[in-house]
Symmetry: C2
Subunit: 230 residues, 2 copies
């Protein structure tokens, strides 16, 4: 039998470990049985017996769910299903040094997309007090000679404040996680470029201008980043 | 000694398990030593010795990193650092039944934000061939009497195709993960509402209209969802 025939007939064995399989089984089980936060789970021993695997493998799989925030252990009640932190594990892997280039590029664009898309929610929820805070951040940005590190922190403070003003905590955390990746991609270029619309300009639009004007202003502000795209 | 004094002086012991601690240690170690994808990791035994913990605990922590796609085991080379799937674990926890209400609402808004923000990248990359496909999806949506399930699938196909047209795979996968949550939030309302601008209208704007017109059209299309926001 030729080697290619053999490969076609057999194919490679799945690379999944026992922990992969058990983790998937457990997640499917919780879903199928409509477990809700607070519901008690069977014990490690019961699960191992039902699945016909060792307790070590079950412990490994449960440990993964614990990391995802899906389960927690309570005094006297044992393991219960919990409300997961949906961004917790995302945060763990967002390291520019281990992410491949095409994903880095995707994240760069994802941040631009969010920035361009948030005007609607921002205009729904912006408050005078917040705009004043944003203005203070914007005006503290150009005192001259504070250097690159200050500039980057100020950039993060300004855009972070805008996200905070949307009142959407997930969006804000998500954006905060994307920023280092965004900064990394920019740092690969030698000459930093600055858009024609400054932070102070954006604050002024936010005070008196329309949603559409804000969106156009944001686009101008981010223009050098859009120019990077292919 | 009063109970409150005692609580103040002692405070609760951290809820972190040994696996939590070791997982964090390992991630910090990989980061500090600038490990890159492909680099070989020390063995389970070496790690357990260095950390002064049992092999079981190390195995648990490594199993978590394996789930995140951060490490993999290679024939003859042992464990190596890998390129993680940044959305893999996010996908695992996106279940509307276990996410709390305020996060569900956040995700609902996150999807609206992406939808409103993607015009720039879409206009940069849209191709005639893709617009024709999008048109076919849009036109297949109103044949009458195909029912709710068809309607939802068609909705997913249409918006999914738009994301695909951006050429951003992360954005597309991310959106696909958000859709069920979005659908869940909508299903909590009794009467489904439809915006004035239809899928066919959006395709026509994409053919001949400007980026700004597309964005306005998308806003009209999503109007019933924006009306839900507080």
């Amino acid at each position: 039998m030729a080697k290619t025939d053999l490969m076609k007939d057999l194919g490679p064995i799945s690379q999944r470990t026992m922990a992969d399989v058990v983790e998937k089984e457990l997640r499917d089980y919780l879903k199928k049985k409509l477990f809700k936060p607070g519901d008690a789970l069977p014990s490690e021993l019961e699960l191992a017996d039902a699945l016909g695997v060792s307790r070590n493998v079950v412990r490994e799989a449960l440990s993964r769910l614990r990391m995802l925030g899906m389960i927690e252990t309570k005094k006297r009640r044992g393991m219960i299903l919990s409300t997961p932190d949906i961004l917790g594990s995302f945060e763990r892997v967002l390291d520019p040094l281990i992410i491949d280039d095409s994903t880095l590029q995707d994240i760069f664009e994802l941040r631009l997309t969010l920035e361009m898309g948030l005007a609607d929610i921002l205009y729904l929820r912006k408050k005078k007090k917040d705009i004043a805070e944003l203005e203070a951040i914007a005006k503290s940005q150009d005192p001259g000679g504070k250097g690159q590190a200050f500039r980057i922190n100020n950039e993060i403070a300004f855009h972070g404040k805008i996200y905070q003003m949307t009142g959407n905590e997930t969006l804000m955390r998500f954006q905060n996680m994307l920023l280092p990746i965004f900064g990394y991609v920019i740092s690969l270029e030698k000459v930093p470029q600055i858009g024609k619309v400054s932070h102070v300009d954006l604050v002024n639009i936010l005070k008196d201008g329309s949603k559409e004007e804000f969106r156009q202003g944001m686009h101008e502000h981010l223009k050098p980043h859009f120019n990077r795209l292919k």
